[in-house]
């Protein structure tokens, strides 16, 4: 069952210095599964995620033959309809809680804002729902977190608050942009377990954007490897070690290994021909 089908997506920026093609001809299908998008910075992975939500500011332009989400072509609907989809149907968790949460608003107020404004829920009911969401992402002391300001939370807590916020309206598709790269390994494992549970129990589709190939290999079902705005290889996560493309192999080999030899780590080969 396909939840999202993207055909020939491109994101271009017309700047003074010329045209920049951030995403070029990307096509993929997503079911109710975990899809990983991997690449270096500048490979277009974040832009691909944002383009699905049509969250690209001018001078950036999105073009696609088709971007079907649950039967609706996201390229053709008006902005008002798109706004109604963002949040309740498709949600995005941004990279850095430091910059994505409102620093002068209590966490509880931020969690309840959507419920109060969009769903017209009473204050007390919104508070109960918000606390439930915090419990769902395994925050141990939800009452304290509700009254805290973002700067009073650790990075891991902030990241979980953002996930909780995105999950309140129960979206069908969650786009997570490096949701764990600011976190420690042990907290990272917890956050991944939460996301994993949501995919399994709620039947949510997940696009997981990361530069960490090992993480994606362990966590996702399928992986798209992007280089200079193009998908250079698509493969099942369990086959990652058997990757054929030299760029994917390079991304894997440049990581240090526990118990590995201490030779200099191989640098990443970048061949312009791969991006043709």
């Amino acid at each position: 069952m396909t939840l999202l089908s993207v055909k020939n997506l491109a994101v271009t920026f017309d700047t003074e210095a010329g045209r920049v093609e951030a995403v070029r001809g990307v096509s993929f299908d997503l079911g109710r599964e975990r899809l990983g998008i991997v690449g270096e910075s500048g490979s277009g992975k974040t832009m691909t995620g944002r383009a699905v939500l049509r969250l690209i500011r001018p001078p950036g332009k999105i073009t696609a033959d088709e971007m079907l989400f649950d039967g609706v072509d996201l390229m053709r609907i008006p902005e008002s309809q798109m706004r109604a989809l963002r949040g309740p149907r498709i949600a995005m968790v941004m990279q850095d809680p430091k910059y994505s949460l409102n620093p002068v608003m209590r966490v509880g107020a931020q969690l309840m804002e959507g419920l109060r404004q969009r769903d017209r829920v009473s204050k007390s009911a919104a508070r109960i729902k918000a606390i439930e969401a915090l419990v769902a992402v395994q925050i141990r002391d939800p009452a304290r977190v509700m009254d805290a300001y973002p700067h009073e939370l650790s990075g891991g807590m902030g990241q979980r608050v953002m996930i909780a916020m995105m999950l309140i309206p129960n979206p069908d598709l969650l786009i997570a942009d490096e949701p764990t790269s600011a976190l420690d390994v042990t907290v990272q494992a917890e956050v991944l377990a939460i996301l994993d549970d949501l995919v399994k129990t709620r039947g949510m589709g997940l696009i997981f954007i990361s530069h960490d190939l090992r993480l994606v290999a362990r966590f996702c079902d399928r992986v798209l490897v992007m280089y200079k705005g193009k998908i250079v290889e698509e493969l099942a996560a369990k086959d990652l070690l058997a990757a054929k493309h030299p760029y994917t192999q390079g991304l894997l080999n440049c990581l240090p290994r526990i118990g590995g030899n201490r030779e200099p780590l191989p640098g990443l080969d970048r061949n312009a021909a791969w991006a043709q």
């Binding site: 390994v185 990581l255 200099p264 780590l265 990443l268």
Partner: protein, 251 residues
């Protein structure tokens, strides 16, 4: 031994109560050795580096270099011997200073001559084109900035480098280049490293001995061999090892 941290405790006062960031941690690092500190955030690993530099309040214990206790304030002789590279190259370089100014400042403070030639040499040593000399940090990528930060730390030709998560803000491929650069510089100049990271694979690649920390306390010291063969004694060190991203490929 070159660096000696002896039952060090660091206590901050926050909202009227004491926060013990580091409690009774001891470690020693030999000359030309590379020593790693691992643990979660809040485990006190970076605080130890900051305490060595005089940037954290030491409540008890001592830090000695070559057997001599460090003076407070640390003074110029200390900066000649010990330099630090910080985690986030976006925050640790002055945004309105050119690379040239960042690199020449330590030379001016210490009255060292041959500024021009030293800067060109430093850029070459860290693998940056000399044409970058008059650029500002915002004109550089993250990896290039971290190279500038490493060049800055090496301007005074120190013997000890304190490395606080030097690659955690970088992509996998840029991390590889930066780690290779650090290994090469250590071999060429006989440097001693005290390195902090939450990534066990990075620490394993760079260090001879490792101290695992949790909640401000030392949990277990491991040799590189013990780590590679998973011969850790404490549950916490084992759980850190099991959660390490590197293990994920093998399962």
């Amino acid at each position: 031994m070159l660096i000696e941290v002896d039952t060090l405790s660091v206590t901050y006062r926050s909202h009227g109560r004491d926060v013990r960031a580091v409690e009774d941690v001891s470690l020693t690092v030999d000359a030309r050795e590379s020593f790693g500190l691992v643990g979660e955030s809040g485990s006190g690993k970076s605080t130890i580096l900051r305490a060595i530099c005089g940037l954290a309040p030491i409540s008890s214990g001592a830090i000695r270099i070559n057997g001599t206790a460090l003076p407070t304030p640390r003074g110029r002789a200390f900066s000649r011997r010990v330099q630090m590279v910080f985690q986030d190259p976006y925050a640790s370089l002055h945004p309105r200073h050119t690379v040239d100014r960042t690199l020449s400042e330590p030379l001016a403070i210490h009255g060292m001559s041959g500024t021009d030639q030293r800067i060109m040499q430093a850029l070459t040593d860290v693998g940056l084109p000399t044409s970058f000399r008059f650029r500002y940090p915002h004109q550089l990528s993250g990896g290039q900035r971290q190279r500038v930060a490493i060049a800055r730390a090496l301007m005074l030709e120190p013997e000890i480098l304190l490395l606080d998560e030097p690659t955690s803000a970088l992509d996998a491929s840029v991390q590889a280049e930066t780690l290779n650069l650090l290994s090469r510089l250590r071999a060429e100049r006989g440097l001693t490293f005290l390195m902090v990271s939450h990534d066990l694979a990075v620490i394993d690649h760079m260090c001879d001995r490792i101290l695992v920390m949790q909640n401000g306390r030392a949990v277990e010291e491991l040799s590189r061999e013990a780590l590679a063969t998973a011969a850790m004694k404490t549950d916490y060190a084992r759980s850190l090892f099991a959660a390490s991203a590197d293990r994920m490929l093998q399962t």
